[in-house]
Every structure is written in C-alpha cells, then in structure tokens.
C-alpha cells in the first residue's frame, strides 16, 4: 500500500514512489487479465541498512523547551512529538494533511504536524496542546472548549484548540464567518462544529478581558 513517507518526490530510493505505485496497481486490464504479480520488489531489495550515522542530530524548540534529538530524515514532526517525545496531546488522523488532528502552532501559526518533517522544524517555535497549559491549569481556549462542550469523542479536539488558538492570536476579535473559515481546516466527524464556534467566540472574549 502506498504510504505517505514514500509519496511525492522522495528521491531516497527506498520503497516505491506514488507514481510507481499507481502505474503498478492501475496498470491496464491486460496486466490483470494475465494474473500479473504486484511488481514492487526490485527497489527495496537493494535497500541499504539504515544506521544511526544516517540519522540527523537536531534541536527542536517545543513548548519553550529545547529538545535534542536523533531523527531519521523521513520522520515527521508528528511522529517525533507523539512517539519520541510522548506529547500525545497532538493526535494522528490521516498523516496526509487532510484532517487537522495534528495541528500545532509553528511560529504562532496553525500547521499540520504530519506535513512537516522534523528536520524542517528546526529553528521554529513549536507549541503543542500541552504548551497551552499553565502547569495543571487549562489555557483560555482550552477552558472555553470545556465549558461550551465543544467536542464529542475529543480526538480532533487538540487540533481544533490549536487552530482556534492560532486564529485568535492572529485575529483577536473574529466574526462568526471568520471563525468558521478559521476552523475549516480541521475535521470533526462527530460534527461538534456549532459548539466549537461558541467556544472560539467565548475564548476570544475571555482572552481580551
């Protein structure tokens, strides 16, 4: 199956490119009629051993703390946050920039952490859901989401909160229409949008006062 890590223009020579995958999978009825094999085995047979020497030594600025890490160049910021730093407030939904569950602030702007390699995040100020907390106290936006019941299953919620936080940092007094637009990059399958709008409104008021 095609996977994000080998999608697009990856020139690392490991696995198949998306283009290659599609041509193998979609390849004409003639190929299927012949009961053809799934032609994917040449590339990775030559796959070299990956050692720590191939890993990159990086320092990330996360929630105001400097984190020194050894990462594979293909690791996303999302993977590093969740699986290397244990910051599971950032959720994984699609790993292809569609749902927004992994939204974090990068230099105060909401960004999908799945669409950013960890090595690309060097030198940027990253804030995750955990970074909105004041020790154990909820941040203003988090508190508004709690009070307005702006979630159901709660899984898209960290991303929604980060998107709202980013919106309010850029626009402290948004109209309802601006709120809907600002939140439109974050899917909520439970459909809690109406309460999310209320929460963003409430957070805007509380942040200003």
């Amino acid at each position: 199956m095609s996977k994000k890590s080998t999608d697009g223009n990856c020139e690392c020579g490991r696995g198949v490119t998306r283009r290659g995958f599609l041509s193998a999978a979609g390849a004409s009825t003639a190929l299927f009629a012949a009961g053809a094999r799934f032609q994917i085995n040449e590339v990775q047979a030559a796959s070299p051993e990956f050692t720590t020497e191939d890993m990159s030594k990086i320092t990330l600025d996360i929630n105001g703390q400097r984190k020194r890490l050894l990462v594979e160049p293909r690791w996303t910021l999302l993977f590093v946050l969740r699986d290397r730093l244990g910051l599971t407030g950032t959720k994984v939904g699609c790993e292809r920039g569609e749902c927004g569950a992994c939204t974090v602030l990068v230099n105060d702007e909401p960004r999908y952490a799945c669409m950013l390699l960890a090595v690309e995040a060097v030198g940027k100020k990253i804030v995750t859901l955990e970074g909105l907390m004041n020790k154990e106290q909820l941040g203003t936006t988090q508190q508004a989401f709690l009070e307005q019941d702006a979630y159901q299953c709660g899984y898209c919620t960290p991303g929604q909160i980060m998107a709202a936080e980013g919106l309010l940092r850029a626009n402290p007094n948004p109209t309802l229409d601006e709120i809907a637009r600002g939140m439109s990059g974050n899917l909520c399958r439970c459909g809690a949008y109406t309460h999310i709008f209320e929460a963003v409104k409430a957070a805007a008021v509380n942040k200003r006062s």
Binding site: A45, E49, Y151, C153, R189, I196
Partner: protein, 775 residues
Amino acid sequence: MADQKDLYYVNDLPVPETPAAGDNPQPWGQTNVIGKGLPRADGYDRVSGTAVYPSDVTLPRMLYGAVLRCPHPHAKVQSINTKAAQQLPGVRTIITNQSQSAKLTWRWADGHENLLFDSHCRFEGEAVAAVAADTPQQAQDALRAIDVDYKVLPFVVDERKALESAAPDIHSGGNQVNKDSYSRGDITKGFTEADVVREREFRTESELHTPLELHGCVANWEGDSLTIWESTQGVYAVQSKVAATLKLPLSKVRVIGHYLGGAFGSKLQPGKYTIIAALLAKETARPVKLFLSREETFLCVGNRPPANMKIKAGAKSDGTLTALEFVATGTGGAYPAGGTAILDWLVRDLYLCPNVRCETTDIFINGGPSRPFRAPGHPQCSWALEQIMDELAEAIGMDPVDLRLRNIPLISQGRGSIPYTTTGLEECIKQGAEKFNWSQSREAATQANQRGGHLKRGVGMGSCVWFVGGGGPPSTVIVKLFADGSVNLNMGASDIGTGTKTIMAMVAAEELGVKPELIQIENADTGTTQYATPSGGSKTVPTEAPTVRAAAIEVKRQLLQMAADHLDVQPEELRFAGNMVVSKQDSGKKVAITDISQLKKRGVVVGTGYRGPNPENKSVNPFAAQFCEVEVNTHTGEIKLLRFLGANESGRVINRLTYDNQVFGGIAMGIGLGMTEVRQFDDGQSGKLVNKNWHDYKLPTALDVPLQMTSLPIDLPDAEANSTGAKGLGEPVTIPTAAAIANAVCHATGVRFTDTPLNPLQVMKVLTQSNTKEG
C-alpha cells in the same frame, strides 16, 4: 483541595425517596442535577491532552505492526515471498498464511468462516500478511518488500450489476445474500382507495464512517494473559471475539478502552487487526501497536451500504395514507453484513398506513464488508419516504407538515401494532414547525422565488422514528460510596463521545444527593469493570442510566440499614436529609452519613445494580423532526444551508449541553450523507476504491454546517420505559437530515433530487436535465 465539609453529602441536594427492597423506584419528581447542562466529567482530560486514547498508548519495548492488504477487489494469493522483507532493518517478524500461529478461523457471519489470512481475497484491502518492526516506517518498508503473487479474478463492485448473469460469483451460492419481505393489509386495495398515487426511484450512496481516531489496538502478553488497548465501542464485545478466535478463556483476555476517538458503529466489534496484533506480540514476545492507516480505514472497517429504493405511496385527498410499497436493494460487501438491514423500517413504522408491502434484497459485491453506521438503514429509507411524502402533499395541495400530522401512529405498526410507551412524533413536528416559523418561512421563500433570479430559497422538513432506542438488559453497574461520602462509579460501558460518563455521574449524583464532581468514574475495562454491551443503537443511556440508578439505590438501602443499626431503629423509619440520616418520626434521632460506625469501619458501601426488563408488549422508541432552510445557486449548483432545527423526543433530557451537541452533530453527519459523501469504486477497470482519503471523500467541514442551528428537546419523561425516563438520542438526530435538505432543495428549485449527494456537480446535472426536458 476541596474543603473537607464539601466532600460529604451536601445539604442543598435533597435525596430522593429510597424504595424498599424489591420495589421499583418511582420516577424522579423535581430534579437537582438531571436536566442541567453540565460540562463533561472527563472534559479536563479531553482538552488538556491527558486523556490517553488507545492510539496514545506506548509500552516499553513496543513494536509497531502493519498489515499487507490485497490491492485487488478479487484475487487469489498464489504465493508470498517474505525473504527480502525479513532482511530489512528493524523487522522483527512477518506472518502470512504459511505461519503456524496465523492458521486461525475468522468468522464473518453464520456459515461464512475462512482463514485469518485466507488465500481467496474477496475485497480490496483484505489482509494478506503482517509485520512487526521497531518503527512504523520500518514496518511500512517491510510491507513494500513482501512479494505476493496474485491470481486476479473477475470482480463486481456495483450491486446493481451483481445479480446479472455475467457477474462473477463472489461465493459459491451466487451473489444474492437474502431477500426479506413484509406486508400488512391489502396493498392493491390500498392503492385503489387512494385519490393520488406517487411513485419514484431513489438512491443513496455508500458512506464511510472514518472516525478521527484510526482503528487499531496495542496488544501485550504477560505469559498466557493478553491485554489489549483497543479503540472500541464495547470492550466486552472485543474480549469475546478475541477469546473465541484465539481459543482463550475470557479471563485471559483483558480489553481496555477508556477513550476512543469516534466510531459511529464501526467499532462495535474488533477487527482482524486486533487478532493480528496479538499474534505479532506473541511471536515477538513484545508489545505491538497496530493502528491502520487512514487509507485502510476506507477499505476494510465498514461502511453504510448504498441503497436503491423504489417507493410508491397512495393517499386520499384529505391526506390519509392508504398504501406504501417499498422495494429496495443494497449490499453489505463481500460477506453478509446487513446490506439491507432494517432498510424498510420507516416505511413499516413511521406513518399510520394500513396497507404496506416491503421487499429488500441484499447482494454481495467485491467491496469491504459493511458495519452498522449510525441508524442503519434509516437515513436511506428516510431519503425516499420523506421525499415521496412531500410529493403526495404537493399532489393533494396540502402542507407537508399537515400531511405528516394527519398520519401519526400511537402504535408500532411494524411490530404488530403494539403501543409505544410514549410518542413525541406529533409534538416534534408541531412544536418544531412553530419554533422554526415553518409556514411563514415557506411562504416567504415561495414568494421570493417568484421574483426570479438565480438564487432560490427553499424550506423543507422530515421526521423519523428510530427502530430501537429503549435499551434493555443485560447490564451490571457498581456504585461505591467511600467513608467520606464521595463516590466511585464502576461500569463497563464505553463513552463514545456522547457523554455517557457525565450522564451516568449525573444519575448517581441525583439519586445519592452528592455533587457530580465528587464521583470518580471507572469504565470500559473487562478486567476491572462490569459487563456491558457495546455503546451503540442509541441504547447506552436507557440501558446504563437505570442500572446506575439501581446501584445507587442499593447503596442507599445499605446505608439506611447501617444507620438503623447505629441508631438502633428500623431502617423503614429512616430517611435521608442532606448529609444526615434522620428518623421520620423523631427528628432528634439522626446521624451524619460519614459518622455511621459501620461505614467508618468498612470504609466503603458497595451497591450493585442490574438492568431490569423492558415493559412487555410495548415498544420504546425515540422520535424526531427536522426543519431546514436552504439557498440554491442555480448557476453553480451550490447549496447554502441557512439554518437547521432539530426537534427530538428522547424521553427525559439528562444533560442539556451534551444533548444539544448530539443534535447538532447528527445534523452535521446527515449533511454528509445528503450533500458530500460518496464511496466511489472504479467500476469499469480495476474495481478499486478511488477516493480512499479525506481529500477525495468529502466530510462536512465547519463551512458546510449552517451557522444557525437550533435544538428543541421535547422533554417527555417516559415513565414506562425505565426508571430514569430517558430514551436514546444518538441515532434519531441524523435520520431525517438528508431528506429534509432534499425537500428544501425541491421547494427551492421545483426539481426532485433522487440521488445523493447533492454536491454542485450533481445539482447542476439534474437542473440541466430538468431544463432540457421542460425546454
């Protein structure tokens, strides 16, 4: 830290009368907690990031699993070569149909059992092999390096073609799964009696659940004991299937599912992935985390079946329905999975009609098996029924609201005419229409449209009953009251995002007179909590709430007995008064609950509650009606939803905040069915799913829901349904949405839209065809 006195029973919360042992509790009178809009008991955890969802679980030495899936809709695995994959860095094990441990039977349905990695793959995405590796990236590398030789077989992915003689057989008995029929009265006579008859074919497309949290689990063995953290709606359902498949005693399988990130019916059962994770963990003697990729969740963990529906309806000129006929086909995919399950229920039960005939045919295709999807069958049937009702209304010159009000049943006709315990259908329609300003809005839209222009206004509605929604046994709940008066609530039920934990805490708080925030909740763990069926079918509140109440009452009975011993009186003489137990006769005789000597000595009172039976020969159902106003751009085909109102009768409202949230969420999901979602196979060439991602498969976003949303609860406690008076809500909230939109769009444009989704492409196509016809 709370002041010590705040921890005790509080004076300002009265405690309801405690029924004697064996007596049923009376409905609550004035309530103190129930009915309020309280934020969630676990809200802090959910917004702070401290809630640990199954996909957040990380264990020491944990590996990552991944599943190799068949890329063809129909194929036979000839051979699998894992040699290259085995040699890749980080790869710890690979299992295939040749692995001894994987030679297990997977049961799809009665009479449909095959191997876990069966060589006959009947749908794209069927499991073929699996790996465990040090990192998820290495696991994916290994999948790509596995060389599988497939014999590709002819396929059929459209149920409308699957019964044709040219279609390949998916199973040896042919492609028809089953045919169900139902009838009452005399359908021919019914149509003869009608002054108007309308008939039309409708289709709803297949929808995919795609909850935000991926399907999957973490599996860990300690010797012969298996623990699974699974994203699930029912930990006990996962436990029983895993134990049966791996042939383990139930006591050796512990399933934990404290949180889950959405499901909508797709996580009522474990998947092959659950078994595979357990096998990989066993092989490697290390914990394994196996969560599917987003793409995989489009292929193999369920869908709402498509429905092809032909409906014919007859009515007298006064609006009395005389006949309804419904013939439909659908598909649950490559294995029996309820492709037409309860698809005809609304025709059978929603409106009063003496003559009804239904026939549904379930058909196999080479597609991923269905799983229940929020109100199975109902939104599809609603799409056809509510639109034909509007056609009848137009034909006899009657308002659509009045036509429905003309045909309100007080009995469940589909169940042999037994009465409903309560029905709020009429009130949902009446009060909903009034609150929505139905008549004036409809008139204003009609007049505006007569003035011309390409922007057309429309107002539409639909109503519904939900097949079940009354819950029922079994359920067991334990409520513990600690020596300081604070409480632990222990139940097996999952909170799938509907607010179950909060609602149950409110029930316990109401009955015990304690503050809800003093209740600790422990749930969804087969190792430590009590048996519960999965959270689904809009039955969690009506099943668990009376059980929680029963457990709390048991705590009170024991406390009264302890206080009676303490005061040396009979327990019947005593009653609760705030934080005290007081004699009914002699108010001087009293003891503070936390001073009762036995409670201090024991440290805890444990009350067990069981869910009692439902009323006999009655049907417990929730009802709803929805109203909406739309603006259709006839140049671009864009539909703007201006406002929506959901009126729901689900018995007693327990938490107004989570209640409204369900209503709005159900509407949002119904907008998906009606306007954006369609599973798209490459029918002609490859048979593969072409939109297995959220870019090409459109979910409603923040920009697709109306900014003006209203929830109107018809708060009608159902004294017969159960001791809390509450019925289910999660499904009726989404049933009539799509149909209400279609009716509004028809009102706006004068054109009937028979197929979902009403996206701009589809709308323009239909409008253009209609103009051509007229021109």
